[in-house]
Point group: C2
Chain length 355, copies 2
């Protein structure tokens, strides 16, 4: 929280997010234009300099052997390449132990940590690619997700992208990461619980309800087409945060039909271009929220049975233009100086050139 | 998560925090010394430059009138001064409305936002002060907390300190902040629920259990005296994170006897000096976790009745030497490259000169 953020008389409010069960303080700085949120710092300023890009074509020897490569039509060269992370935080080999440690619990660091190299050279970022090229990254995510879900040691699979050093990237070359975990993060479990409770009371998916509610309200909608809704969430934790939600109910990204990946790539490209034009190419994080693997070993087939109905995969896109401080770390409550309605109006106004 | 963090063969593990109900990935970088976590950047590098420090003695006109001032013995000049934040995120005036907004909830931005100026000039940081001077800041926190708890619009009161711009500070002058909220952050509610469940099953405070368990284990203890235990939590989310926990069970910082504030100031100073010597004066956040005001209006006197027994006030001290990325933001799970045992051994080895 910056202490002198709101030099005006506008009122703030607390908005409740029914999924995370948490509040955000929306504290608008009246009259601020998106330009005032542009960070005047090269987004890759903190990246370590390297003569050779280990992710570029021709340098395959610098990474472990590929798990998956995808080519463009009529090409023999890889365009997207998935490799194990050379320095993983969790490792795929070994037995999974779940131990008691007095008051605490310890689970061994078994998991997967993969890197998705999103194009063969480091001159183009994801938003610069053609839609059919972005589609290949989505296809790689889908294939790897489906494969990792078959490993019954895993309880959640995170797919995410750090773009720019302010978002935590350590390589300039456009890439994303996949981490499979032997446990379910509490934040994810909270969202799953919220979605389940909503469904069990109403027999409706909470995400479908949100899409319908927002589509009627319109004020937080950035853009909609037949397949996707791009919106700024009502209780956005960060300025210009966006969710990209498929209109068709589907719990698991790995079950998206191949013929809908192009529409998804189109919608993602649209979101990045709007973000880049509004905030002058900010650092951002992209996170895929998708249903986690069930706990098969518990032999309770019904326990996660309704996840097909109650969860709904989506992307969260968050520009990294604010710094968290003691208040946010201590409370878990974020202070957002831009109303989602205002953010949506700026993002909506961007004109997207067709490819 | 930096992608190339762990350039070694050491194994990682997931550790469960019974209070936050979340995991941390402890992914040690073998052989790393504390020096490798020192950030080579002036901690105040990003502070806006100003000719006049609005918090220094003589410049009182630059802040709103004081809510509270405290003097040193035998002095008529203020040493600690509490003022309303000039640009608050929440405002004290107005009626509190709790509104439904379709799928969501909205609570008006009513609250308090105060600044505690911790010394009359900006040349000394909190760790540089005499113990009896630090004691005045603790006394100010206690008095303001007790006062704000009497306002039955508030559901939680956060006291925290941002030291250095990397920790979110916007002023160099040593200060802390107090925010009273009309809602309880979900993170705090989770900790309260965990403490309550532990107590209701065992009739023991979980924090007392942790202090006893850690005191027996010793490996995560930094220092203990008759009043306080300074330790690195078992599932520390961040490198060199410390908790300062009073040995005597007490739920509410505002009920600490005045004659114990000196011991508390002594323990805090000790913690800061260890942090400064180990990490070369890092940016850090300090957060006071204390029991929130009960919901008096609900007329259910028992509902929060056991908080006296089940909660236990403490400080969380977190140096800001790591950057969060998409994985951490998306999952809520932190990756900590330093084991708490190793952090404690470095912090324990620091020799503190008596005042």
């Amino acid at each position: 929280m910056t202490q002198f953020l709101n030099a005006d008389e506008s009122r703030s409010e607390l908005r409740w997010n029914p999924l995370t069960r948490n509040y955000t303080i929306i504290a608008p700085s009246r009259g601020k234009r998106p330009g005032s949120f542009i960070i005047n710092e090269e987004i890759d300023a903190h990246l370590p300099h390297s003569e050779v890009c280990a992710f570029c074509t021709g340098n395959e020897e610098y990474t472990p052997p590929a798990i998956l490569t995808l080519n463009k039509k009529n090409s023999d060269d890889w365009f997207v390449r998935v490799v194990p992370n050379k320095y993983p935080v969790l490792r795929i080999e070994g037995d999974l132990h779940r131990n008691n440690a007095g008051l605490y619990d310890v689970v061994s660091g078994i998991g997967a940590h993969e890197v998705v190299i999103e194009s063969p050279n480091c001159s183009r970022q994801l938003a610069d690619l053609e839609i059919s090229e972005i589609e290949l990254t989505l296809k790689a995510w889908k294939i790897r997700l489906a494969d990792l879900k078959r490993d019954d040691r895993f309880r959640s699979i995170m797919i995410f992208k750090n773009h720019g050093s302010l978002a935590g990237a350590t390589m300039k070359h456009s890439h994303s990461q996949i981490v499979a975990l032997p446990e379910r993060p509490y934040h994810l479990q909270t969202i799953l619980n919220s979605a389940r409770e909503h469904y069990s009371r109403k027999e409706r998916c909470i995400f479908c309800d949100i899409v319908e509610f927002e589509s009627n309200a319109q004020e937080r909608i950035v853009v909609e087409d037949n397949y996707f809704t791009l919106l700024c969430p009502f209780a956005s934790s960060f300025p210009f945060e966006m969710n990209l939600i498929p209109k068709k109910h589907l719990h698991d990204f790995s079950e998206i039909p191949d013929n809908e990946l192009y529409a998804c790539a189109h919608a993602l490209r649209d979101a990045f271009i709007r973000l880049n034009k509004t905030l002058n190419f900010p650092a951002y994080n992209l996170v895929l929220m998708t249903s986690p693997p069930p706990r098969k070993k518990l032999n309770r087939p019904d326990y996660w049975g309704s996840i097909r109905e109650d969860f709904h995969w989506h992307f969260m896109i968050t520009p990294r233009i604010a710094r968290s401080a003691g208040f946010e770390w201590g409370s878990g409550v974020q202070i957002n100086p831009v109303t989602p309605e205002e953010a949506a109006s700026f993002l909506r106004a961007i004109v997207i050139q067709p490819e």
